[in-house]
């Protein structure tokens, strides 16, 4: 246990990860605090997305991923034998780089996660309506789509799609939200809107956001992790990192000498 008074959302211990024979993560030891936004930065291929994707175990879809060490989410190692994948992914929501709404209606997208996690109970139409409205209001999308809930989600603009992808996580009430470069497919206006939304959400969720946009990390996060070649170089308050980085590599990256 740490003496830190703030509870930890994610705690990794000696996390090593291999894709086949290629090692992508080396001895990652992180303590990510609950209830704040933490950003992960670093040049392409530094392992930041890999780390993020192993926190809700979506990496395992690839089939050739090997992991040792532990990732404890809210105190429980999600790589323990007795852990059910479905429950892990319910607790830990993920937003992808490219908006990926399902090719069904907007309404059904919002309800997708909600309905698969109701344990066979069929929620009433009224209840579903409330869920949809609530989630869409929280992501500031309700006014734009309230009249076309039945139309296909894939017809929305990219910005709206990405908001919808965040909205569909809300009804499931996850503890942690993982975001993998959530704005990289959006234009500046869309980026601003989604960043604003992420900022709004920070009170209720622990958010871990990967970005290759340093300005974004600076704007949106409270703590920042810098990774390089699969290793964590520095983890500190965002303000500190961008003003007085402790490591030479961090300073060089922030100043744009490489990456």
């Amino acid at each position: 246990m740490t003496t830190d008074s703030q509870a930890l959302a994610i705690r990794t211990r000696d996390l090593n990860l291999w894709y086949g024979t290629f090692q992508a993560l080396f001895d990652v030891d992180l303590k990510i605090k609950q209830g704040i936004i933490t950003s992960l930065i670093g040049p392409s291929g530094c392992g930041k997305s890999t780390f993020l994707r192993s926190v809700n175990r979506i990496n395992e879809r690839l089939g050739y991923v090997r992991i040792n060490g532990a990732i404890e989410v809210l105190g429980k190692n999600i790589y323990d034998e007795d852990v059910e994948l479905v429950q892990v992914r319910k607790q830990i929501g993920m937003v992808f780089q490219r908006p990926n709404p399902l090719p069904i209606s907007i309404r059904d997208n919002v309800l997708f996660g909600y309905n698969i996690h109701t344990q066979g109970r069929r929620p009433s139409y009224r209840e579903q309506d409330d869920v949809v409205e609530n989630a869409l209001r929280q992501v500031l999308l309700w006014d734009e789509v309230k009249d076309k809930l039945k139309s296909k989600a894939t017809e929305l603009s990219l910005e709206e799609q990405q908001k919808l992808c965040i909205a569909r996580l809300i009804p499931v009430k996850p503890g942690v939200l993982l975001m993998d470069e959530p704005c990289s497919a959006l234009d500046p206006k869309g980026t601003e809107a989604v960043e604003e939304l992420i900022w709004e959400l920070r009170d209720n969720y622990t958010i871990l956001i990967v970005t290759h946009n340093m300005a974004q990390a600076r704007r949106t996060s409270e703590e920042c992790i810098f990774m390089l070649m699969g290793k964590v170089i520095e983890h500190t308050a965002t303000n500190t990192m961008f003003v007085t980085p402790a490591q030479q590599e961090t300073a060089d990256y922030i100043e744009g000498r490489y990456g």
């Binding site: 994948l85 892990v88 992914r89 992808f96 990926n100 399902l102 069904i104 698969i116």
Partner: protein, 304 residues
Amino acid sequence: MNHPVTTDFDRRDRDWYMDKLVQLVVFVSGISAIVFVIGIFIFITKEGMGFILDTMDPVEFFTSPYWEPSDEDAPEYGILALIAGTASVTGLALLVSIPFSLGAAVFIGEFSTGKTREFLKILIELLAAIPSVVWGFIGLTIMNPLIIDIFDVPVGLSVLNAGIILGLMTAPIMTSIAEDALKAVPDRYREAAEAMGATRWQVIFKVVFPAAKNGLLGAVLLGVGRGFGETMAVLLATGHSVNIPHSIFDPVRALTATIAAELGETAVGSDHYQALFTIGIFLFAITFIINLTADLVVRGVRNG
């Protein structure tokens, strides 16, 4: 400038002629498919036209269950029983082939990987290549006694027999097309659903099937087209007797099988001969519509 500069920009060398020649050959091959289809259509229309214009009573043709073209005094040309035969066999075949092929496609496309997957795909293609007369043979020699034994019926050549045989016959091609449809569903949809905690089955039923529904429907329609056009297997397995079936144990006769069995014995140009060609036109029209619909439906999946 120390190398000679040429200005014969209008020079046509061997490569130029080669290119033109290849263009021509490709164009002719491409257009030939269309020419042949139209040619066949014109041929069967010409052969059947005399009957349609002179002898045929369209109402009787489509609504009379009596097909007695060789009756010398009063030949009857009603294809209702033949339509019923073809429709009942095709319908039963779909009941057999849809679950089989959908299941196989899901297994190959969503569950199996690597060697298993390759092996199954080759096997499916191999199944699709079995000649239809072999299937008919299986219907005649294996299914026939089996059905007599199991259901205690006098004849085993029936809608049931032909339906099962035709179902097994169409399953491989439907599997193949259905698998293509599943493969066309972008993986990020599956990833999105799985990241929300959906199980394999939830992903398949709630995401992959809805996304692939046009392709799957197209697969079924092509199966229907295949069933309508199949001749040899149904000729051998249906019992080939003109009859509107009242149960799946009744023998029937299919449109295609009628043409195959009778055309060789008719005098060229006779009413009977022309009536068979009229059936041909009818079949051509039906399969054309089915295939066109299937094509449009499958295409819809890419545009929508």
